[in-house]
Symmetry: C2
């Protein structure tokens, strides 16, 4: 949803630029794009700082997919929190889900965290249950693709099982996202339409078929995590706590700048 | 555990053969091996028949890993139930988890079920949460590697998250296994030691590296599903119901032949 928010800003900038002949339209749009980038860098930095306050010393964390420097203009949302907490010496290790089918966890998140000198333990997605059951995780931190007005969160497929497992093992489950990801016009997760990905992403890997012939494939890009499983949503301005409907309404009426 | 039970039978047969000079040791061992095979075929058949009674008409099922004809001497345990129910016209479709890291679901289970003419929908392991949340599944059926005296079940990594999700969505969760898988000498899942697999199984696929360099890997072969998440355990003799401690004790004292 924040991609479309950025596009809408560019569209508005374009309309405004047309009315100011003093500046070329290209320079005017470039200025707006650079401003969006600057704001995203700053939002990531503030999400990292705010979120790091939630992490206790010596924590082992778990994350899913990639919500890092490769997915944002800054240091990332979920990974912004993890790297900020790590620099403060709070992080013992990070379990990274490989995140099938596109392996953003094993390919991207692992790479970013290893580069930061963080101890990365790569697991298959379905190993998270065993790790949580063994009391091996102090907090789960994920990003978000869209957050509804009630806090229901659409994020990379596999987020919802993690949230259910975290709740069962009394492990806090944090969602990290800029306020531009909050879509107050969508009442709940039920109204979020989930994109379906190509069957090839599951049946093939690096061009090689890895599944039997003759199967159908169901490959939703995202799943919905109901608000009841979310401990807190970390934005660049504020840490939202349940009830999220109230917290998000307050955020929205303050134009995202709620303290 | 049933592999070791079979080895123990062969060891006993060997000792007995040594005392009977009339038969060659080789023929004597072959006879015992063939008997074990015959019993396994029959156990699978009976598990299939018994388990199929649990499946309602028009069911969509979900299974994990491979507990089929490629993993047993007969038609399989979990897949024995699914194929038997399918032949009775009860099965609408089967969701098959790909089962990372070794992809037994996409490679083996899918192949077996497609061959049976069953409608197979392949999903990544972490998509099961979304499928269950959409009320897309009527029952989850898995095999077992070892069942403790209280019913706690060790099975392929990823079984436990499925069980937790099935419980949340009020979907029955069935374990299918011959009585030789029940290990009454192990009080609970806590005492089951879990084998760890090679890191390469997660970091590589078909010889190609699919993960960033510098990561550690945690790759347990199995996880433990606590008995509270299991609706029933289908053996070749009886459908065990909670409380499993009592049901398994009765089974054990009857030498596995409990009605």
């Amino acid at each position: 949803v924040n991609l479309f928010a950025a596009l809408e800003r560019m569209r508005r900038a374009f309309a405004a630029c047309l009315g100011s002949p003093a500046t070329g339209v290209r320079d005017c749009l470039l200025k707006e794009a650079q401003e969006i980038r600057r704001e995203d860098v700053e939002a990531c930095r503030r999400i990292g700082e705010l979120g790091a306050t939630l992490i206790t010393e010596g924590s082992t964390l778990l994350t899913h997919c990639n919500a890092g420097a490769l997915a944002t203009a800054g240091e990332g949302t979920a990974l912004g929190i993890i790297t900020t907490a790590a620099r403060k010496g709070k992080v013992r290790a990070v379990y990274v889900d490989e995140t099938r089918p596109l392996l953003q966890g094993s390919r991207l998140t692992s790479w970013e965290l290893v580069r930061e000198g963080i101890d990365v333990i790569l697991i298959t997605d379905s190993t998270a249950g065993a790790v949580l059951a063994q009391n091996g995780v102090d907090a789960v931190i994920v990003g978000a693709d869209r957050i509804a007005a009630n806090g229901d969160t659409a994020n990379k497929i596999g987020t919802y099982p993690l949230a259910v497992l975290a709740a069962r093992h009394h492990v806090p489950f944090y969602v990290a996202a800029p306020t531009s990801t909050v879509d107050a016009a969508t009442p709940s997760g039920k109204e979020i339409r989930i994109e379906e990905r190509s069957a090839n992403e599951v049946t093939h890997l690096a061009g090689n078929r890895i599944a039997a012939e003759g199967v159908r494939v169901y490959a939703p890009a995202f799943d919905i995590t109901p608000n009841e499983f979310i401990t807190a949503i970390v934005t660049e301005n504020v840490i939202l706590r349940p009830p999220f409907l109230t917290a998000i309404a307050a955020l929205d009426s303050a134009g995202g700048k709620m303290p």
